[in-house]
Symmetry: D2
């Protein structure tokens, strides 16, 4: 049996730990042969494979990023894409099945390929924690730790200068990183995509913290929507060079907070540092366990499923059950935390 | 309503985050008044209380240890101990109930007091993760991160010198810290209390890793039992000064491994560094959520229960369901990981 | 003898360690009484003082920021400023002298006050390492560590996606943080204020690294000047909201690199996280030693000087020798590192 | 020109950064060919060499340990050792000179070989900072950071339980790690080899800290001598299994402190975690600069010297000037710190 492994979408701490676990268990327990697929679906389409033995995965549990490379290629696009072409490519390379490690988009493509007759199974990967079918995904814990540590640092500056600090974290559609890092760092306002707020609601909380003698900390997801700012938003897309703005919502929030409250306010966009580097122990264990179970799934040829975390157990979920709605922050979780801001 | 809070048993990262969350929510949402109880049950028995307002809990989510102090005092012992004395003491101080943050022993005492008519509720605390009624307890994730980081360091020394490194971690009765940190660090042997092994089984795995060109890493829980070493163990209690040995099982293992395999072997006992210092983000979030829910329990006067983590939810568990058997590592979890050692 | 201590300018890891060491040594060895001055020169002008005993400085060696607060107030400005007013204020509070912990601007003000007859001594503080009269100042090592760790993380993302990553670090006038963190993280291009470069020089190095199969890492000081971009710069001041841009030079560099080389490029502005949080051990030791020696200077009433690091020794430097030219990166240090980019 | 590189003695964070810098500068600037020598002098004696190109040193600045391996072999011992044999071996492999990265012993051997006509230059390596001819050596800063962070953790446990914590750090002959980490962590007693003390002197300081309401922190170098304990020491060599004790001086100190003061006391031996893992930014920069200058020395064929740090400059020191007395902690540095313990 010969199996290809790919990683697709944004990189995420723990990808290499999954790859290592799959290969270690697959080769020693099931005698499976593995190939690495370069750069996600791009490598499937292009037939870009290389042998992946236990030697190649040595020491990988703690290494960030992915040794396989990644891309955002759609396997159904391009002259060599589509299920029939891919079947032919896999057949030509004697590849019996694919382990696809990726997020919503990757798993949707995997499901479509599975329905088109290709042997695929999935491992969920989302640093934002936005997949419904798993309690947590690897990478999220690392991102929350990095964001929390950064905010611990920002707070000392805020306290020394009596400033309001605004920290912008990842989360285009869901606010999990903001919620957890905000709770962990003792934020006074947490702004997430699921709960749009007006600038007045935000500054009211900022002012309240300031009045208690605190240097306010505002945590904001990149995908947060500030209500009542339509006009401002219409201009948001371009900077003074007429190029897309690299900055984010925090760069709109910070000057508004300062203007309204009179409290000196500074924004920090944490950006890419949240997704790189060595995974936390939690993420290494989770990624490794998912990889071990993925090897079992492959050995059983139980295609069309992904492995996932439920409580403390690794379970299997059919692709169709895993896709669809995102795992947004439920209101009760947001309100639970709101008691801290009182 | 006036409530006392105590922390009891060994210290644990996240204790202060629980205290902060209880006080923040309790004061702002429920208008409860809090007092800190000094040094666990000792402070209950001695009536050693102090006011605990939101001012005292500022910035505590990231602070290790416990501002309340802790001890291993049994509330039923001593001239001022026992349910009737304690009732009188609480009554004299107008204290309506107690939040007890602690492990198996603390919660057992809390349950007995509750059955004797005292208002007590519990928050589970165990760095070893040995309580059945919660998926995880705060402190465990921090300990696993510290142990993993230490092992990452040990491995570079092992690799440079082609040595076998033995790392001894906490875990008197259960092997969770060893299992998780061992998986995370890519250990070649994991020795836990739940799975006694002979020195020959251990050295066989050490030799196998060495033969593959690896510097073997052995992780061992302090409570691991080496089988077939009765005679050696009988002497174990005393060192050359006729005082109890501070060293641990790793100091027996390392020279045995070296003697049998001929591979230079070094032991490191991680010891107290695993339980101190700033909690991980995971532990801060978990501790904070437990504290928030503890405030709800108190407000509802739902005594005789503890709060706990089930999946991603905080739930309530009656004391009697929480006590009894320890949360040991199930065999399937150990065997799951064993595939990595192949 | 009664001495006031102030911290002025941007906050910096190690300020609290200086304060602690001054107070510990001053009180126990010299029986000096200390007062904290709130918010830098602002507190001097306003007479905003509070008692500072060894109790207040407990445990401060590891705490980031400054418990005294800080500001950028000029002591010669405002109705209560100026040497004569300040003399009167100090006299009224029985304060015999001031320890001013700050950078170029703070020390220049301290020198002027000293020349106007006020007892002042200085402790150099510059996170950018831009003061000539000290080999290193506390805070710099912490900032370099934080920047290096962030770049270690950025590199795994760059490698996984085959991207060029641009990291913008502090350094308005000098490039020390960029130079040291760039060397430490293995950067392929280091852009510092002392060495203006054209976009073509930068992209040539980026391309060379890319051609060797590396994901290029570009480190740029916030004060770096890109030559031949006058037109672009003229627009730089404002964003689409007609407010000062919060983003920096990296947000100009990244799209230009991508446009010219065709390599996907991402910018990260590390910003405020570089100056907050717990100091590194190096900075704690340096700050503590400077504080201990500052207590000696005060006890000897050797005013008009600052303490500084020369090699491994703490020495004293008259204010006038310490001011003037900045400590820029000498060309030979930049060229030394350039051999790494080959 | 073909040059061999070796690392000898205990491993140390920064070794790989030296190797990388030598190879990068040597190949690109001077067109030198490099070979790696396996396991220190052992590889010289055995002719165990392998090609070392810039490809092999990629990404090494942040990697702990040494890719060359290390040993404590003496090049003048064994049937293939001695200057004449080594000359023949180097000649047979067309190796023109050796870069020896190591401590006192390694450099002494290098000097002897140089005097016997072999082209050798040195790079100082000592995690203990015990070499006279360099202000600091790489590895020391990392070790101090690790020890400091560990003590930060120990302190929260000490505070929670009102215990005295004893931390044992590296330093067989010199107390630099204990001095710097002790200052950084705010220790109440620092015990170093240069300053023998009696148990009564130690417990007096412990008691004083305890009386001020502090949980005493005692830092002790492994090579510290407790005076007046001759009888106890005579037994010290063996444990209850009649094997050399792995524990250290802290395991003698802790029970004595507890016995005399009545304060519960716990010992932690930090051990091997101090020397492994990723180097701090300071050590990466220092190691890289030493490596860059070593390449210059080799290109100039300026044999018989080592590179070293003086102030902020890298300089060259003849072997004979570098050897001999160790760089002990001078008394004024110890007394400087003692003001903190008052």
């Amino acid at each position: 049996m010969k199996i290809g492994i790919l990683t697709s979408g944004g990189d995420c701490p723990g990808l290499n730990a999954v790859i290592r676990a799959v290969v270690l268990k697959g080769t020693t327990t099931y005698n499976i042969e593995f190939v690495g697929i370069r750069d996600g679906w791009r490598g499937v389409v292009d037939g870009d494979f290389f042998p992946l033995t236990r030697h190649e995965v040595r020491g990988l549990s703690k290494v960030g990023g992915t040794i396989l490379g990644t891309s955002r290629t759609n396997p159904y696009e391009g002259p060599r894409g589509g299920a029939e072409n891919i079947k032919a490519t896999l057949y030509a390379h004697h590849i019996d099945g694919i382990i696809a490690i990726g997020g919503e988009g990757t798993l949707a493509a995997a499901n479509r390929l599975y329905n088109d007759g290709i042997n695929v199974m999935g491992v969920p990967k989302t640093i934002d924690n936005d997949l419904r079918a798993t309690d947590y995904s690897f990478g999220f814990d690392t991102a929350v730790n990095i964001a929390t540590e950064a905010m611990d640092r920002l707070r000392t500056t805020g306290d020394s200068h009596k400033r309001c600090m605004v920290a912008e974290v990842m989360g285009r559609h869901v606010g999990w990183i903001a919620l957890h890092s905000g709770i962990a760092a003792g934020a006074h306002v947490i702004c997430i995509p699921e709960v749009p707020m007006s600038i007045d609601e935000i500054t009211a909380q900022v002012q309240k913290a300031h009045d208690r003698g605190r240097a306010p900390l505002v945590v904001v997801s990149e995908g947060f929507t500030l209500t009542g700012m339509d006009e401002a938003y219409s201009d948001k897309g371009l900077d003074a060079f007429n190029r897309p703005r690299l900055g984010g919502i925090s760069e709109i929030l910070a000057p508004e907070i300062e203007r309204i409250t009179g409290i000196e306010t500074r924004a920090t966009v944490l950006g890419h540092i949240q997704r790189g580097g060595s995974p936390s122990a939690f993420d290494r264990v989770l990624a490794t366990r998912l990889g071990l179970h993925a090897a079992d799934v492959v050995a059983e040829e139980a295609w069309g499923q992904m492995v996932s975390l439920k409580g403390t157990d690794i379970v299997r979920v059919p692709f169709e059950d895993a896709l669809g709605e995102l795992n947004t922050v439920p209101l009760y979780r947001y309100e639970e935390a709101a008691a801290l801001f009182g």
